[in-house]
Amino acid sequence: MNEIPIYTILLGMGTLILMAIALISFIVYYQRKQFNLQLKQQTEIQNIESENQKKLLKNSLEVQEAERRHISKDLHDEIGGLLSATKLSIKTFSRELKDNEELYKKVQNTTSLVTEALAQVRSLSKDLTPRTLENFGLVDSLFEFADKMEPTSKTHFEVSINGLESKERINKDLELAVYRIVQELTNNSLKHANADNIEIKLNKGSEFLYLSYSDNGVGFEYEKTKNDIKSGLGLDNIISRVNVMNGVCNFTSAPNKGTQVEIRIPV
């Protein structure tokens, strides 16, 4: 009597243990599967959000550029035109005052002030919309930028460009982004870092455009500056522009050790 129930009991025990092991194995398998699925969904959502953010950023930069172009045009055509007319009018007026030496000198002085104002307006208009960039491309505009900045800032600029010829054009958005980034970096080097030597290296490969920027200024603490709402804005602008172009940037800087920036953007 005892033998049959014992085998039955053993069979029952074995079945129950197997069921428990199967249940536990299923839970491990299902939990991992569900979790991976959830992770995949989260990644997809994050990708969509990041894509949307990029689009927003791109739009905002486009609006900014359009506004700059508009202001630049107004400055050049309206204010510049008015100043030119004023200068011409003063010149005509001055011819009539040649007899009165004292008054003539004053008018000449006014003419030179108007000329200076006209030059400033043209320069401002040019800064807002880099016409060389629009007409001749990145290489010429970067050389022109360095040539223009060197005498005014008393900083030595070294620009070297590889893989890209003068007047050779690449994606317009990319050209503008790189130009603006260089502008922003130079502005930081001159305004905050007191640098007297700036090196700009641009290298175009088959897939990526590499921008290497370095200065010998006072440097800065990257994390501290980036988190500072006031001074971190310039850095944010650079990072945003690089992100919009699906690129990556790397800042290396420390107090009194200058700043090195490496940027890689897909062509």
Binding site: N2, P5, I6, I9, G12, M13, L16, I17, M19, A20, I21, L23, I24, I27, V28, Y30, Q31, R32, Q34, F35, Q38
Partner: protein, 173 residues
Amino acid sequence: MLIILDIPMWYLALHKQNNYLWANIQEILSAFLWILSFLWLKEKIPRWLIWSSLLIVLFTSILDFRFMHYASWIRVVNRFLFIVLSFIFFTRLLDDLKVKNILNYPPFWLISGLMIMACGTTLIFVFTEVTISYEDAQDEIYMFFSDINDILKIILMFFISVGFWVSKYSYHE
């Protein structure tokens, strides 16, 4: 606490005296501790179920407590409650999906060990007369099922040890 309760059991066993009283007390206390431990889990097991389980353990213990024999029905009821609570724990674990790496989650190992032990030993205690009753069961069968019971306890201890071992890792990674 259970180790402290082991001491009188060992003492009585060495003096060849009946120690089922202590074995039954140990069983009831361990059931209380196991069921109470479900209260501290991240996966919220309904409180009413835990308190009801404790009440059931208490009533069964009062009704079936024995001084000189194996209190088998206390064990059967305890194991049934362990299986139910473990099952609910696993269901919650899958519903919540808060744990990223289940194999690094200590409660998973503890409850898995408890479930395997409970599933494996329930039938031994349902058929106590033919398995581990020292009065009714044959000697070799008695020893055989005692060994199985001990092996399943060792498996439970192994799972508990794994639970402690993995507690040094983060289950959020």
